[in-house]
């Protein structure tokens, strides 16, 4: 297909952050009037590309062209003037302002003079009317539903006379109903002559909305073409590359119960009853899966079993328990501290301390060994945890918790946000622990992960353990 003259174009754009090459000399052409999806896994370079298009980042080499004219790089103002508007994934709205005030704020051209509310509001009313949206412009922004806030963001873009609207992971925050509504919005915008760039990682939505798709992997373009020629499989393959072999699960005889909870109740952070009379048993040599939608008490249950959160009822567990938290940055690592100290956090009761005094050289040696064994790629044990990629950070956490060969392991969404290879590594380690006789409780929202790893799976909903699903007995 011959593609005439692009409205927005990246030519040989490169950008790196420290040692990471986020974008490696890429060429993208966005045609007028199309919905152009940019697909890729976490860390593929999507956000970097989008921020370069929006003028929030300057490329190290290469050009951004609007209507075939090179645009000044690294200037959000200039890109806005040229008609490129960016809708961030995390909305840029002042929650304590009304919708009208937020729109006026965005239209302010300078910091002096009177506050002009009427004109931008008129414009926004017209735009909203054209799209058939009912928006209460006097409502406090924080009171709007997420989908409504997104519309306000889109209105902001339309009010700047944007020709090109870049949407960063727009569906990530939406509920299912809001997503189908959003698909209609994108189509309506395209029909009114706008060009849409859609940053996405969910295939189904790309198929529902896009005309053209560009796939990024590791900062390079691995595919670019009309959507019609593509299937789920071909795009998924392009996104992740060759899939590594599936984790192999060997037959292990489940033995004695290592972790038992009997009728326990756990309170959440806000004092709510997060877990209601839950009972479960995990045996040596088995992985018990715990599924369910986020926020149904799984994390509270996991924390209670790990002894981090108080619980009423009976919990029998060994003294040493390995807990692999779901949020690497929040609950796992101390990002500013060096790797060896991050590993040390899991060794507070080990013989790396004598009477509370650190044996420093022993600790450094031990940390280097763990990093070897868990294939952590880093400059040295002294590198701050912040400097590692997400996958390597998770390997640090896995090494910290699993290298002690704990009897009981509680892992919460251990592969969330990891690329396929890093996820496979973590899965292998969990299976290895099971093989070695550990009792593993795997809390995950990813059914594929549970199906691949768990011997049996419980389901959690509104704080109650629902039913026991038998594993496939592989």
């Amino acid at each position: 297909m011959s593609r005439s003259s692009p409205i927005l174009e990246a030519r040989g754009v490169s950008r790196s952050f420290g040692a990471i090459q986020a974008l490696d000399s890429i060429d993208v052409q966005i045609m007028p009037g199309e919905v152009h999806a940019v697909l890729g896994e976490n860390g593929a370079g999507k956000s970097t590309l989008m921020n370069i298009f929006g003028g929030f980042l300057a490329p190290e080499s290469g050009d951004v062209l609007v209507d075939s004219v090179p645009a000044p790089s690294g200037s959000p103002r200039a890109m806005r003037k040229l008609g490129v508007a960016l809708v961030h994934q995390h909305f840029m709205l002042v929650p304590e302002f009304t919708v009208a005030e937020n729109l006026a704020l965005d239209q302010m051209s300078d910091l002096v003079g009177s506050l002009e509310m009427a004109e931008p509001l008129d414009k926004a009313r017209r735009q909203a009317g054209d799209l058939g949206w009912e928006i209460d412009f006097d409502a406090m922004t924080r009171q709007l539903r997420v989908g409504e806030q997104q519309r306000v963001e889109i209105l902001k873009a339309l009010c700047t006379e944007a020709k090109i609207i870049i949407l960063d992971e727009p569906t990530a925050v939406l509920s299912k109903d809001e997503i189908s509504e959003f698909v209609r919005i994108v189509r309506a915008l395209r029909d009114s002559g706008k060009t849409i760039v859609l940053i996405a990682h969910k295939l189904s939505e790309v198929f529902a909305m896009a005309d053209y798709v560009t796939v990024l992997r590791g900062g390079r373009i691995v595919h670019s073409g009309p959507i019609g020629e593509q299937t789920d499989e071909s795009l998924a393959q392009a996104m992740v590359g060759d899939p590594p072999a599936l984790a192999q699960r060997s037959l292990v005889e489940a033995a004695g119960v290592l972790l038992r909870a009997d009728e326990i109740e756990v309170k959440g952070d806000r004092g709510n009853l997060a877990v209601r009379s839950a009972s479960l048993e995990v045996r040596s040599g088995e992985i018990l899966g715990l599924g369910g939608v986020d926020g149904n008490g799984q994390i509270e249950l996991g924390e209670a079993l790990a002894g981090i959160r108080p619980a009423s009822g009976v919990i029998e567990r060994p003294k040493q328990i390995a807990y692999l938290p779901q949020d690497r940055h929040k609950d796992g690592l101390v990002l500013s501290m060096p790797l060896w100290e991050n590993l040390l956090i899991g060794q507070l009761d080990s013989d790396l301390f004598a009477f509370g005094v650190l044996k420093r050289s022993a600790a450094l040696h031990w940390a280097a060994d763990v990093m070897d064994e868990y294939e952590v790629k880093a400059e040295s044990v002294h590198a701050p945890a912040r400097s590692l990629s997400g996958g390597n950070q998770q390997k640090v956490l896995a090494g910290r918790t699993l290298s002690q060969h704990p009897g009981v392991i509680i892992a919460v969404n251990p592969t969330r946000g990891l690329d396929v290879r890093a996820a496979a590594f973590v899965h292998d380690r969990l299976l290895q622990a099971r093989q070695d006789g550990a009792a593993v409780l795997l809390i995950s929202t990813d059914w594929d992960e549970l199906a691949a790893l768990a011997d049996r799976t419980l389901f959690m909903s509104r704080g109650k353990l629902q039913q026991e699903l038998l594993g496939d007995g592989k």
Partner: protein, 339 residues
């Protein structure tokens, strides 16, 4: 290597700031610097003057360092310092008859305990009641200040009941001075011990390691099975103990009595000292000596020019601004943005 360069740059920056400030005040820079150096290190009197000022500055700044490292922004060094001195004053009333050694040991322990208690209360308010330490400690400073004004007119007043001060300690009851002509007293030997101990504690013990970790990310510490609230309360108690100890030492070794003017704001001035020392005990020691020397040297400056010690505060304020600016500049350069 990189650290060494940073330290050199910081030292050069501080020297430059001093020169610029003197010039800005219209002083002859060469003469002023010589007067400052003479006043701070020129003879045994100067060295004594510097040491006796470095003592409260460094002890308080070490205390703040421990708390801040745990994420508890204790601004109450001044109040805890005064509380320590007051505790020493009360203990004197009780044990003065027993002799100096008992008074010194019990008095200093009591001073540390009193400072720790006050800081613990502020920590408890944050951990259990959500009142931020940065607010409560700064307010407690003023409460303690006013309390001292009342105490020296009430329970702590000297026996004759004439002056608003506590009873002056006799020479025997003061901490000994090897050379009575100088300010130097044996209490100052606590300072190097405290510097080394704080460093060892922070970087070589499990407790200190957790203290640093909880300040950087309390969630990770909690997920590792520790109790952040306990760690933070402990940090506040150590912090208050060091500040209180400073107050006790100054009472027994330098001032000899408690009065309205006992507070020379060492607990406040220790805040920028802790910051300039990059919350590292050795850095704190260097920053403490530098500013103590400036304060001591400015005594000499006062005699020969219009300037007084407030010029030191100008240098200090400029230095803190410079550090904050440099830190944010380096952070921007390191991160440069992220995906």
């Amino acid at each position: 290597m990189k650290e060494a360069l940073l330290v050199l740059a910081a030292g050069a920056g501080l020297a430059l700031l001093l020169v610029l400030t003197l010039a800005a005040f219209g002083q002859d820079v060469g003469t002023s610097l010589r007067l400052l150096a003479d006043g701070a290190f020129g003879d045994k009197y100067g060295i004594g003057r510097t040491a006796v000022r470095a003592c409260p500055l460094i002890l308080c700044a070490l205390g703040l360092t421990v708390a801040w490292r745990a994420g508890m922004y204790n601004i109450g060094g001044e109040g805890q310092y005064l509380t320590g001195a007051v505790a020493g004053g009360f203990i004197y009333q009780v044990v003065s008859g027993v002799g100096p050694v008992v008074f010194h040991v019990v008095g200093l322990l009591g001073a540390a305990a009193a400072g720790a208690g006050l800081a613990w209360f502020a920590g408890w308010l944050e951990v259990k009641r959500g009142v931020q330490v940065v607010i409560s400690t700064i307010l407690m400073n003023f409460i303690v200040l006013k309390l001292v004004e009342w105490l020296v007119r009430g329970p702590l007043q000297e026996p004759n009941g004439l002056l608003p001060t506590s009873e002056r300690l006799s020479r025997e009851m003061m901490l000994a001075r090897p050379d009575p002509q100088t300010d130097f007293h044996i209490g100052i030997w606590v300072v190097p011990i405290a510097i080394l101990a704080t460093w060892f504690w922070l970087y070589r013990t499990r407790a200190g390691f957790l203290n640093r970790a909880v300040g950087e990310n309390q969630h990770a510490v909690r997920a590792a099975g520790q109790k952040p609230a306990h760690l933070r309360l402990r940090a506040m108690m150590i912090s208050g103990a060091l500040c209180g100890l400073a107050g006790g030492i100054d009472y027994m070794g330098w001032a000899g009595q408690i009065s309205d003017g006992f507070s020379q704001e060492w607990g406040f001035i220790a805040i920028p000292v802790a910051l300039l020392g990059a919350l590292n005990p050795f850095g704190v020691a260097a920053a403490g000596v530098y500013f103590a020397a400036l304060f001591a040297g400015s005594k000499e400056l006062e005699r020969f020019s219009q300037l007084d010690s407030s010029v030191v505060l100008v240098v200090q304020a400029a230095a803190v601004l410079g550090i904050v600016w440099a830190a944010s500049w380096m952070k921007n350069r390191q991160q440069g943005g992220s995906e």
